[in-house]
Subunit: 234 residues, 2 copies
DNA sequence: GAGTGGTCTAGACCACCCT
DNA sequence: GGGTGGTCTAGACCACTCC
């Protein structure tokens, strides 16, 4: 037998991956059909299907009805990462989490906020500034805007004890959105809140969250203290 | 009928997601068993399994043998994104891609490189600097180190026409690794290569790639020109 | 011990789409 | 038209783990 012994779909996946690694099937090549592979491996087609699906989900194979399964030519690496609650992120580092609400206003949106949230000038917005600390040291500055038309309850929420981050997770159904990562020079406000020098290079994550009706619930900018690293496994 | 009509696993997924949205099943709650749900939906247990698996993969449910399926309490958002070849990334922006090799050396690793690559002082390393441009303007500076013990062919590769990025994708079997995103102040070298001011806030991605034997193939630092944004859909 | 999810099997039908 | 992947079904056995 060429293959040690195929028991489950993970074995099939491993064997297919091995052949891809060894360039036995090269980029652009057409793989045998599921039925043929099932015959070769001595398992049900369903099992082969499951394995190939998993590999295709990773971006290494491309599958089409009637067209068969092809090895992708430019295998874009696809990375998955978690966006944890800041509190949990800090606690996982074995550091003591702290939180402080710096500012809270209810107001009409500025032009910049209107563009970010895609709301009109009449909207009622809760604007927040909060600081998350690790071992008493500034960790990340949270700048957040919440649309009260979409989340009326936010008007009465007490963000001085619970961070808007966590409050929203608890009170608002999850939904879609997007995330933009960038590097920014510290503004005066950033420098003061994070106790760093003005102009320092800061890692920033800006996240927009939409509900199921595609309305913008909230936009948040997380401005991390200097030295922050976002690690992702591939 | 309570439910419109359940045909496929995607319908089951949609219905379960609806119940999660509506808080019919709250964080921490135990869902009915797959068998019960299958009976309710009038489909096979396999179909329910597929649907719940998909939701669990998104991080919203937690499943355990014997323990059943639970709604996750703190639903960490899980995001996936592609890491494209730089050339394709630029071409997708409808800008003209350009590439220039700035420096190439073959040498023993410095202490900093040894730490990054986890190799010893005797290793033979190809050290590269290359610039990728969009419409003739600096886009990203690539600092790369390749371990010749792992990739001997890199000693003879001509990186002046093809970027190491693409050469490696073509010649080295894909593998695991990790990725670290951060913000850095532009060094003298960065500033000169990217035509920006020293100290400017730059977005940096550092990636380490390992082969199947867990040896470090290459480490690359991608230092992006000011203003770069990395966008991710959630 | 018993109930749960994890998975395999064999067969079936369908949607797609290349030739 | 016909071959491919996408999926469903019903039944089965197993692994895990809570009670």
């Amino acid at each position: 037998m060429r293959v040690a012994s195929i028991n489950g779909w993970q074995d099939v996946q491993a064997e297919v991956l091995r052949r891809l690694h060894e360039r036995l099937w090269k980029p652009g090549d057409l793989l045998p059909s599921e039925a043929d592979l099932a015959a070769e491996f001595g398992c049900a087609r369903t099992t082969v299907n499951r394995a190939l699906q998993a590999i295709a989900d990773e971006g290494l194979l491309e599958r089409r009805r009637r067209g068969g399964t092809r090895v992708v030519v430019n295998p874009e690496r696809r990375a998955t990462f978690n966006i944890p609650l800041i509190r949990l992120e800090i606690e996982q580092l074995q550091r003591e989490y702290g939180y402080r609400l710096l500012k809270r206003r209810q107001q009409r949106p500025s032009k910049a906020v209107r563009e970010r949230m895609l709301v009109d000038a009449e909207a009622s917005i809760v604007s927040l500034r909060a600081l998350h600390t690790a071992d008493e040291k500034p960790y990340v500055l949270e700048k957040r805007w919440i649309d009260l038309a979409v989340v009326p309850a936010a008007a009465d929420a007490d963000f001085s004890v619970q961070s808007p981050n966590e409050w929203l997770v608890e009170h608002v159904p999850f939904s879609g959105g997007d995330l933009v990562l960038s590097a920014q020079s510290a503004s005066d406000e950033d420098a003061e809140a994070l106790s760093c020098e003005k102009g320092a290079a800061l890692f920033m994550a800006e996240r927009r969250t939409r509900n199921t009706q595609d309305a913008t619930i909230t936009v948040v900018q997380l401005v991390y203290a200097p030295g922050y690293r976002m690690a992702i496994d591939l």
